[in-house]
């Protein structure tokens, strides 16, 4: 049964110069099969030049709830953004 086949998450690099991006998931018996299936499933039309597959169980993830305090540390630090600073308009190249 496919229940024995672990779930893999698939990441594809669309072309050189871009990051790998998560495109979906699939089931496969092992890493090799996961790579081959990912090629057939997610890159039938030259969508990628490189594929990563990783067992879903091996991914550590933050909690999805937005109210989670996990992201709170960056919430009140507006001074980390360039728009926080008023610079006179006559100062060039800034």
């Amino acid at each position: 049964m496919t229940g024995e086949w672990p779930l893999y998450e698939v990441f594809v690099r669309g072309k050189r110069g871009l990051n790998h991006v998560h495109v979906g998931s699939l089931r496969a018996a092992d890493d090799d099969m996961a790579l081959h299936n990912a090629r057939d499933l997610y890159t039938r039309r030259n969508e990628g030049v490189s594929i990563w597959v990783v067992k879903a169980a091996d991914i550590a993830a933050s909690s999805p709830d937005e109210k989670d305090p996990f992201f709170a540390p960056s919430g009140d630090k507006v001074y980390r953004h360039p728009t926080f600073y008023d610079i006179p308009e006559n100062v060039p190249h800034m």
């Binding site: 049964m1 229940g3 086949w5 699939l26 089931r27 018996a29 099969m33 039938r44 709830d65």
Partner: protein, 321 residues
């Protein structure tokens, strides 16, 4: 310092869910969702996946008899896409906790449905063209709005599927144009296929709005963006000029432009036929299910062998380490 907040109550979670939907944001895997949303979404995605998988059969029927290598290569690519669409969708359903073996089991035991259209036979090669043009055209009408479904993984799968469906529709229409520029007999084959597939294509949009009890809830959850009748009308309006350009007659004497409405009027649909096909009494229901069951059973040894191979490789790695 870590602030430990008390776990949010179910009412708070529900408010958060409603708020996300109201802001037109996407629900993502592991978000809290009402149980009814989860169930409805798993069923909707699974039935869509089943339709893609069963949808391989009517056209797959013609792969070995395609009239040229070009048409065979195109048809193979198309049927392979249908398999791909099924797999995108099964994995989207899994993100909600749907179990893949359970979904397959529900399909082959008849407890979950697939699109009624695939229970009609493909009698000639012209059917391949008409399926691409009308059936995939209707599917595109249905699916383009679903690219904005509130469930993120489903919406993303739909975006990929819609891109590929466009190839499906265009290859079908081109196939029909080629046949229409052929012999009288070929033109008759096309017209015959249109006659058989027109009404079942209109039925693909589901029962009329006044007989579609789940529509209101689905629209509130934004997992359905337009009603069945709205999408059906859009499909008719799109298709009439395409039929004229092709030189075929759509088999409906009541089909006529209504300037007042700004839409085409069309004749009454035989809803009894749809009910019959959905409840298992269509021309090919038994054959399609039997074929799917057999493919699943015949493939069992391959799945087991792959799993056994993976276990052995893993053991070897552990011994070597």
């Amino acid at each position: 310092m870590t602030v430990t907040e008390p776990a949010p109550s179910e009412a708070e979670l529900e408010r958060h869910f409603e708020h996300t939907i109201a802001k037109d944001q996407r629900i993502e895997p592991r978000d809290w969702v009402p149980e009814a949303y989860r169930k409805t979404m798993i069923r909707q995605i699974a039935q869509h996946a089943h339709s893609e998988i069963i949808g391989m059969q009517p056209e797959g029927n013609w792969i070995t008899r395609a009239p040229s290598l070009r048409r065979k290569a195109i048809l193979l690519a198309k049927v392979q896409d249908e398999a791909g669409h099924g797999l995108y969708l099964y994995s989207a359903a899994e993100t909600l906790g749907g179990d893949r073996d359970d979904m397959t089991e529900k399909l082959i035991s008849g407890r979950q449905k697939y699109s009624s259209i695939f229970n009609y036979p493909t009698l000639s090669f012209a059917d391949v063209g008409v399926i691409g043009w009308l059936v995939d055209g209707a599917a595109i009408c249905n699916q383009v709005p679903l690219c904005r479904s509130s469930y993120g993984p489903y919406a993303r799968a739909m975006i990929r599927i819609c891109k590929e469906e466009s190839f499906h529709q265009r290859q079908g229409y081109e196939l029909l144009m080629t046949m229409m520029s052929g012999t009288e007999q070929q033109r008759e084959m096309v017209q015959d296929a249109v006659n058989r597939y027109w009404w079942p294509s209109l039925m693909m949009f589901g029962p009329p709005d006044d007989d579609s009890p789940n529509t209101a809830q689905s629209m509130a959850w934004k997992i359905k963006r337009h009603t069945n009748d709205e999408l059906r009308q859009r499909f008719v309006d799109m298709t009439v000029p395409q039929a004229e350009a092709l030189g075929v007659t759509l088999p409906d004497p009541d089909l006529a432009w209504n300037a007042e409405r700004g839409h085409y009027d069309f004749g009454a649909i035989d809803w009894d036929e749809l009910k019959q096909v959905i409840s298992g009494g269509g021309p090919c229901n038994t054959e399609r299910m039997e074929r799917r069951r057999k493919a699943h059973e015949d493939g069992a040894w391959v799945r087991e062998a792959a799993a056994a191979h993976a276990r052995k490789q893993q053991q070897r790695k552990e011994v070597a380490a």
